[in-house]
């Protein structure tokens, strides 16, 4: 069996101590199930992280606020990458968990912030409740042996039903403590994130909020890399590739799919909570069909079987959409559709894998090969 490390592109320009150090530090996050495993990649990663940290110092608060808004949606895209890209469960209704997370955050935060001044519990509840809801929905689907396109239909139906239900919550009778759900007008005055216990409270006004979501994104990216390259990640991929074969190795595929779906629900819930706290407002259309289609488009364009694809797909297309809208175009959604079609026709695996493949071809060696058996067991 080959024990060799891959011939990594550009490593010859780096001192061996740097190569060894980066290899050692990032070893748990490396593996053939993620794009970019070389020291050069990790240097680029650190540089991008530094640029992201310096960003608020070189731009306007308005842009920082906007960028934060883009980043909070990335967690929704990542949730879809985990369950669709890696596990093969095509959910068309991740926005159900996003919306539930946002509303949960709003209700808990509006009630508790007056007492504790903080939103710690609200954020926790906004992650836990969508995860529990995902377990309930997932239990009926996966233990009922529902799969393929029927999962997409059921999840889409769930998000549309939630949109309808929350849309009918207008009036004072739909008030939970201090939180009025507000029907189609939505829930207003949702508190921004604030952590701690009085009197030691840290309120996340725009710049700290930016640092918080970027920090979460980096942590989430690394955590996902660790998971998909671990034994557990291989089981997720095995379920995606061949359920019957995987079951006959002794894996309970219903349970594995349910776990992945619940983790995806929690991530989507986190995304919704961050959105509600950033926007100080949430309304039922976040669970509507247009919003439900967005993560599917982002992930498909970026590359559904890559974590980087979800990040760049979500970030790039939101930016493009926003710029087109700012330029006065009324057809930004049409532009999204055209991009989606183009990617499906010419880069069926997504833009990020296509770019990675080009880089690999130019350099003449794969950064991802020969590491299948490297120790990355979780």
């Amino acid at each position: 069996m080959s024990e060799k490390k891959p011939t990594l592109p550009g490593n010859e320009f780096l001192p061996s101590i740097v190569v060894d150090g980066l290899d050692r530090v990032f070893a748990p996050f490396n593996g053939p199930n993620t794009i970019g495993n070389s020291p050069i990649f990790w240097i680029a990663f650190l540089l991008v992280a530094l640029v992201a940290l310096a960003y608020p110092a070189v731009t306007t608060p308005f842009r920082v606020l906007n960028t934060t808004g883009y980043v909070v949606w990335i967690f929704l895209a990542l949730s879809l990458t985990l369950i669709w890209g890696y596990t093969g469960i095509f959910s068309f209704g991740q926005t159900a968990f996003f919306g539930l997370g946002g509303y949960t955050f709003g209700v808990v935060a509006k009630n508790l912030v007056q007492v504790t001044g903080a939103t710690n519990l609200a954020l926790l509840a906004a992650v836990v409740l969508p995860a529990v809801f995902a377990v309930v929905v997932g239990y009926f689907m996966f233990y009922g042996r529902v799969s393929g396109v029927y999962v997409a239909i059921i999840t889409l139906a769930v998000t549309l039903i939630l949109e309808l239900l929350f849309g009918r919550t207008a009036g004072p009778q739909y008030t939970i403590g201090a939180a009025e759900l507000g029907g189609f007008n939505g829930m207003t005055n949702i508190p921004s994130l604030a952590f701690g216990i009085e009197p030691v409270l840290v309120e996340l006004d725009p710049v700290p909020m930016y640092y918080f979501v970027v920090g979460l994104l980096i942590a989430g990216y690394l955590a996902l890399r660790y998971v998909v390259n671990s034994n557990y990640g291989y089981v997720l991929i095995a379920v995606r590739e061949n359920e019957a074969r995987t079951e006959m190795f002794g894996y309970d595929i219903r349970k594995i799919k349910l776990q992945a779906f619940a983790i995806g629900g929690a991530m989507a819930g986190l995304s919704g909570a961050l959105f509600a706290s950033w926007n100080n407002f949430i309304s039922p259309p976040v669970m509507g069909i247009v919003t439900a289609a967005l993560p599917v488009i982002w992930v498909t364009v970026g590359g559904r079987q890559t974590i980087l694809g979800a990040i760049f797909g979500a970030l790039g297309l939101q930016f493009l959409d926003s710029e087109l809208a700012a330029a006065g175009s009324e057809f930004s959604v049409v532009a999204l559709g055209v991009i989606l079609l183009g990617v499906i026709l010419y880069f069926s695996d997504g833009v990020v894998p296509a770019i990675a493949s080009r880089i690999e071809d130019r350099i003449g060696s794969s950064p991802d090969e020969s590491v299948v058996l490297e120790e990355s067991d979780a």
Binding site: M1, Y234, V235, E241, E247, L373
Partner: protein, 248 residues
């Protein structure tokens, strides 16, 4: 071909009155079957005899209409497929069933990592058994068809089963590959304390590996015995080849 059982003759697998109907069609009809521990036995029969349905019932893919399945004395009739695998039953599917998008080592990693031993060592050990040591880093679509079949056999034994079910393991193989597969199955059974039940059409292959043969016909056990007895049986010839080629 060897005769007699390698083990102590105690059954590892028993079915009593096992039955499966699909609407009005009885695919498996009250089959009583005993498989002694340590044996290699074959299940043969013409198309539609109920062999694959019988395997489906043993693995848990299908739920029986009636009867029971006992494995090592335990009633496993109601268990899910993965629960049966965890008790020691493994299956090589009829059609090639591997992870086509993954490399050889990744295909072996998925079953190997279920065990408590070092995954890397296990992968190397299994690859060595199925002659794929030098091809671990290759995508599986670069393997020949025979090698892909061996890979799946390797994947099936990677979970360390006591009972290996092989559904037409030599389908599509060359004569040399078929012979090598027979040797592989015999080696596995002898060195790994396994029992094997094989569905097969190739009578030469059956002759190479099996102690006992069971002929299924119309979902029922039609004949049981050594391959010589069964192959010479005019009634067996008749159901395989039609009335005009049969005996009296």
């Amino acid at each position: 071909m060897s005769s007699g059982t390698r083990g102590d003759g105690t059954p590892i697998l028993e079915t009593d009155g096992l039955q499966k109907t699909f609407g009005g069609l009885t695919a498996v009809d009250r089959v009583d079957y005993r498989l002694p521990r340590g044996d290699i036995q074959c299940l043969i029969g013409p198309n539609g005899a109920g062999k694959s349905t019988f395997f489906g019932l043993l693995t848990g893919k299908l739920r029986p209409t009636g009867g029971t399945i006992r494995y090592n004395g335990e009633d496993i009739t109601g268990l899910m497929p993965h629960e049966r695998v965890r008790r020691g039953i493994s299956l090589k599917f009829q059609t090639l069933n591997i992870y086509e998008e993954l490399r050889v080592s990744e295909n072996l990693r998925v079953p190997c990592q279920r065990r408590d031993e070092d995954t890397r060592t296990l992968i190397e050990e299994v690859a060595d058994l199925v002659d794929l040591t030098g091809k671990l880093d290759q995508p599986v679509d670069t393997l020949s068809y025979g090698e892909q079949q061996w890979l799946e056999i390797g994947m099936s034994i990677a979970v360390d089963p006591e009972l290996l079910l092989l559904d037409e393991p030599t389908a599509g193989m060359t004569v040399e590959e078929t012979e090598r597969t027979g040797e592989l199955i015999q080696t596995l059974v002898e060195t790994r304390d396994m029992t094997a039940l094989v569905v097969e059409h190739d009578i030469d292959f059956v002759r190479q590996i099996a102690e006992q043969v069971t002929v299924l016909h119309n979902g029922e056990v039609f004949r049981q015995g050594t391959i010589e007895d069964v192959a010479e049986d005019p009634e067996v010839k008749r159901i395989y080849l039609g009335e005009e080629y049969g005996g009296d």
